[in-house]
């Protein structure tokens, strides 16, 4: 009992640590002063102004699209790559693994500039697609890194048993392997999504004038002071996701309970 309490307390502590600065951002979104170091009274002003701020709303939309699509692409390609790599012989596997690690090991500015040079060399014009591809390439290794350990934990014999029983490799993959590695796939997707949501450097070097994301807007604003509308937007985004998360979790728990009762 005490042990459980300590466990829960510890989890709570880490969560407080991770969410503390977000609480600060939320408080700042109601700050009457434009400056973070001064409290200028409580206001809803920034929320009203956010709704009229086309620049920020456009950037939000572009950011979400880029993050979602690059994460989806990275997850699909990355999972396939992980499965393929898991079956490779030792040497090719080692080579592919080392190549996979490269984007993780490079500083972002090097990735960004080398991507720009690549696009320049093949005269691929910059825009939404170029950013999308660059982000996918940069974040796919994180998916692979998350899926591979799961694959290693999976036993190959179940998959082979399914094949022996006449399942096609594709349906065996979807029915046997995927459910097993799904947590890894999911966390890989989440990582890729998170990294893309936050990326500045790679986007900066691979975008054209028409693409602007939240990060590029925020970085451009640091010199003159960040518009408090950004704090308001962060608060809304955060609250929305949190509420969604809790609702979905409750629904799942409710469904599970119902199921358990029915089985009784």
């Amino acid at each position: 009992m005490v042990k459980r309490l300590i466990q829960k307390g510890y989890i709570g502590l880490v969560i407080v640590f991770l969410y503390a600065p977000i609480l600060v951002l939320m408080v700042l979104s109601f700050n009457g002063s434009k400056y973070r170091s001064k409290w200028g009274g409580f206001t809803f002003k920034w929320y009203r102004e956010l709704l009229e701020n086309e620049k920020i709303l456009n950037a939000l939309w572009t950011t979400l699209l880029l993050a979602l699509f690059s994460a989806l692409l990275a997850t699909v390609l990355g999972t396939l790559a992980a499965v393929a790599m898991n079956r490779m012989k030792k040497l090719p596997k080692a080579i592919m693994m080392s190549i996979t690690n490269i984007p993780i090991l490079n500083s972002e500015i090097v990735i960004g500039i080398s991507m720009m040079l690549l696009y320049f060399a093949i005269s691929f014009s910059l825009g939404f697609t170029s950013v999308l591809l660059a982000l996918t390439a940069a974040h796919m290794p994180y998916v692979i890194l998350n899926v591979l350990p799961k694959l290693r934990q999976t036993s190959r014999s179940t998959y082979e048993a399914a094949l022996d029983l006449g399942a096609s490799p594709i349906s065996a993959f979807f029915k046997i392997v995927l459910p097993d590695i799904f947590p890894g796939v999911l966390s890989g997707f989440m990582l890729a999504f998170t990294l893309a949501l936050d990326d500045f450097v790679i986007t900066h070097f691979t975008k054209d004038a028409k693409v602007s994301t939240l990060s590029t807007v925020i970085y451009a604003e640091t010199r003159r002071g960040i518009e408090p509308e950004i704090y308001a937007l962060s608060t809304i985004m955060f609250t929305a996701v949190l509420v969604l998360l809790i609702v979905v979790n409750r629904m799942k728990a409710g469904a599970a309970k119902k199921l358990a009762e029915q089985q009784k």
Partner: protein, 285 residues
């Protein structure tokens, strides 16, 4: 081997090729080619374009050596702290036996959906002389803490920013370890710490290795945290590389330093993976 098995093996190889070809092509286009550009710039001189090792030797300049050393020190400390926080946390989360993995992952990922720069700036509000912590401290009559603009603040920032990268892979592997394994060990008379040390820890190595990589590398190359929370008092290697590209406009030097850093990280990771026996040698070295 009978005929049928031979045909199956052939089919398997074909399938294997079908499966791996897209990724091999992709990595040539988006990883190897850009890398070759970095290697090309890193090994050629700025004015003539001839082959040179000068850009690699730059790392031995006293200032660069000092920045590299400091960066390594801070990122190693941050990585260890992350591991020490994340492992017990993952154990505790496992003990909760939550039905859905997704909830835990989202819970620890969600803070990172807020812009990194904004969160780092917000930490200033917490740590500053007149910040939240010091306000709380002086409210209860305790002396003020001086954290902002010190190396402590940088480490704190790094731990904060990269902790989720450690938590998630470790939690992922821990949640996969079956209770039967642990029960078996307990039945054989192992106590809690023996189980932890002999059973759980070895089984979770792949997750630890992933976590170590994903925390160590970004904290080695970051500099925004040091600029904002460390008061720019400390120069880190990531900043030096950035300066070479942006201020000095010396891409050759920037690529050269990046190459050295990359090789260094590769070696570190190879050493870490040596301890991960199950990995079947996932790296060339």
């Amino acid at each position: 081997m009978n005929k049928r098995e031979g045909r199956l093996a052939k089919q398997n190889r074909l399938r294997q090729h079908l499966l791996s070809t897209p990724y091999v092509l992709w990595s040539i286009g988006f990883i190897v080619l850009p890398l070759l550009m970095i290697v090309y710039y890193g090994l050629t001189s700025r004015d003539g374009g001839g082959f040179t090792l000068e850009n690699l030797k730059l790392i031995w300049e006293p200032t660069h050596r000092a920045t590299l050393w400091l960066s390594i020190k801070l990122s190693v400390i941050s990585t260890i702290i992350c591991l020490l926080i994340a492992y017990p946390l993952a154990l505790a989360l496992r003990a909760l036996r939550l039905k859905s993995n997704g909830f835990v992952i989202l819970l620890f990922m969600l803070p990172m959906w807020m812009n990194f720069l904004l969160r780092t700036i917000a930490w200033q509000n917490i740590l500053e002389k007149n910040g939240v912590i010091n306000m709380l401290l002086s409210a209860v009559g305790l002396p003020k803490l001086n954290i902002i603009n010190t190396p402590t603040a940088i480490v704190l920032g790094m731990v904060y920013d990269f902790l989720p990268f450690m938590i998630i892979p470790i939690y992922n592997v821990l949640s996969k370890i079956g209770d039967d394994v642990i029960q078996a060990a307990a039945d054989l008379g192992a106590n809690y710490f023996q189980i932890l040390w002999r059973v759980i820890l070895p089984l979770s190595k792949p997750g630890i290795v992933s976590g170590l990589t994903m925390v160590f590398v970004p904290s080695l190359t970051t500099f925004v945290i040091s600029d904002i929370l460390g008061g720019g008092n400390i120069l880190l290697i990531g900043k030096v590389i950035e300066q070479k590209f942006k201020m000095a406009n010396d891409w050759n030097a920037g690529c050269g330093l990046s190459l050295v850093l990359m090789v260094f990280i590769f070696i570190c990771m190879a050493i870490v993976q040596k301890y991960d026996k199950d990995s079947e040698g996932t790296s060339v070295w």
